[in-house]
């Protein structure tokens, strides 16, 4: 029970609207007594004194629990940008939809997995063989002035003659421009060299580092090193022309390191050169009878220069 004196003082503070006295009284008595005083105030507060509008207070309440519906300056800007973007996108879609069909090129992609080889004939009659681990991107239908394809990996081209429509191969930055010919492009993205070898006809090459145009004669190979931008050109012996598409493998003064990468792709195995000395051994060899990877590696090892340990698809060379 609250003392009469405190009760009277509290009533006077309420009457005089003195918040500091109310605070002093409430904090000087125990919680039970404070509750008793507050309960009295609660019971005598009918709400009739409230001069505001409970409806607009409720609107403010909703705003507080849901956040402001009105957009802030920043979100207005974002809204403006997104509606502008939407208009542009719709215009672009309409433009693309109404554009004449022949100028839209539909591209196809062909990927050849490790341990596989593939070939296809393009719509113009050009035949392409793709070696293991190669991706070829080509249009379903050639239109326009040029016939353009993209290759990452190794491919042999037998291009159908059409002087009016030059055939262009883009391989890891190197452009090969041809009229009608047979040539090989080797441009794996994990190797720095892009090797182009011409078999018959003539081709023009450009590299990404200069404006120079290289003209290649038959049996010649051009090597562009993507790492240092150097260009090297040499004449091939007849037997060293790329014959992989006929299931032949030719190694001409090539390191075991390069050979093992070729074998990895061709036979879908992993070859680990444990000894750096082995990696730089050079070989001249030709395999034309469909030998498997074990045959090839043991043939290369006629001098017993290294040790071959095979476990499933992983071959370790020591």
């Amino acid at each position: 029970m609250v003392e009469r004196k405190i009760r009277e003082e509290f009533a006077r503070a309420l009457e005089e609207r003195d918040g500091d006295v109310i605070n002093r009284i409430l904090s000087s008595i125990d919680e039970e007594s404070a509750d008793e005083l507050l309960k009295d105030v609660w019971n005598t507060s009918t709400g009739k004194e409230y001069g505001g509008n409970a409806g607009s207070a409720f609107d403010e309440f909703k705003e507080r629990i849901y956040g402001k519906r009105r957009n802030s300056g920043l979100s207005r800007t974002i809204a403006w940008i997104s509606s502008a973007a939407a208009v542009i996108a719709i215009a672009l879609c309409l433009f693309l939809a109404l554009k004449p069909n022949h100028s839209v090129t539909r591209w196809a992609e062909m990927t050849t997995g490790y341990g596989k080889m593939d070939s296809l004939v393009l719509q113009d009659g050009t035949k392409i063989w793709t070696n293991a681990g190669t991706t070829l991107i080509y249009p379903e239908k050639f239109d326009g002035k040029e016939r353009h394809v993209y290759v990452s990996g190794e491919a042999f081209f037998s291009v159908a003659k059409d002087p009016k429509h030059p055939f262009i191969v883009t391989a890891e930055g190197v452009n090969v421009r041809v009229l009608g010919t047979k040539f090989n492009v080797k441009a794996y993205n994990d190797e720095s060299d892009v090797v182009t070898t011409l078999v018959t006809g003539s081709i023009q090459l450009t590299t990404p580092v200069s404006d120079s145009i290289y003209k290649l004669q038959p049996n010649k190979t051009l090597v562009f090193d993507r790492e240092n931008g150097s260009v090297e050109c040499y004449l091939n012996k007849e037997y060293n022309l790329p014959m992989w598409y006929c299931d032949e493998l030719n190694f001409n003064n090539i390191t075991l390191d390069e050979i093992s990468r070729e074998l990895e792709r061709r036979f879908k195995v992993k070859i680990v050169l444990r000894n750096p000395k082995c990696a730089s051994l050079r070989f001249y060899a030709s395999f034309v009878n469909g030998e498997n990877v074990d045959d090839i590696l043991s043939s290369l090892n006629v001098k017993n220069e290294f040790r071959i340990v095979r476990k499933d698809d992983v071959i370790d060379i020591y």
Binding site: L14, R17, D18, G19, D20, I22, N23, L26, S27, A34, D35, L38, K39, V41, W42, S45, T46, G47, K48, E49, Y50, G52, A54, G55, A57, F58, E60, F61, K62, R64, I65, Y66, G67, K68, S72, G73, L74
Partner: protein, 193 residues
């Protein structure tokens, strides 16, 4: 609408999270809660804050509140009473801020300066009461609740720049009122003193 309907609506609102069903309960109790808080805090802005907070608490704790068959009035009283205690717990901060604000306006006053800080605090309360709702809320959160501008921007869902603008406007409004009051008191002091 009698209390039974309101209770039924409230149960539905809290169960389904349906804010429109909450309206009848809100509009029935808000005037009572507000006048209760106004009589105890003696300040319009504090009454608005307390009353609004009572309903926000009921709403945000709707999943854990047990109102089924319980005493609605008793529930609202308990929450409102806690709000009043919260307000008086924070009033020390508020008074300190008010007097520091009053000091900066008054500057290096004379020893027999007739204007005392408690009076100026009351002036500030009055100015805060008269502020537009959005400005007042930002001012309270910033100066009385010590929230950062970033926190306020998030809480009120407005940009940080808007928060800064509200604060500088409210401070300008308070300074103007304090200066006018002090000038008036000093003039009166010299006339009648």
């Amino acid at each position: 609408m009698d209390e039974g309907d309101i209770s039924a609506n409230l149960v539905k609102a809290l169960r389904d999270g349906d804010v429109e069903s909450f309206r009848s309960f809100y509009e029935f109790f808000y005037p009572k809660v507000h006048s209760f808080a106004y009589r105890l805090t003696c300040s319009e802005w504090a009454a608005d804050e307390c009353a609004q907070n009572v309903f926000i608490k009921i709403w945000t704790h709707r999943n854990t509140l047990k109102v089924f068959g319980g005493n609605l009035k008793g529930l609202v009283f308990r929450i409102a009473r806690n709000e009043i205690f919260d307000y008086y717990r924070s009033i020390k901060n508020i008074r300190e801020y008010q007097s520091s604000l009053a000091e900066t306006v008054r500057g290096e006053g004379e020893a027999d300066d007739p204007v005392n800080t408690a009076q100026l605090a009351k002036i500030i309360d009055g100015v805060v009461d008269s502020m537009p709702v959005a400005r007042r809320r930002v001012f309270i959160l910033s100066r009385y609740r010590n929230m950062t501008n970033d926190e306020i921007a998030k809480e009120c869902n407005i940009s940080k720049r808007t928060v800064e603008k509200h604060i500088s406007n409210s401070l300008a409004q308070i300074r103007l009122a304090l200066k006018a009051y002090m000038l008036l008191i000093i003039v009166l002091f010299f006339i009648y003193g």
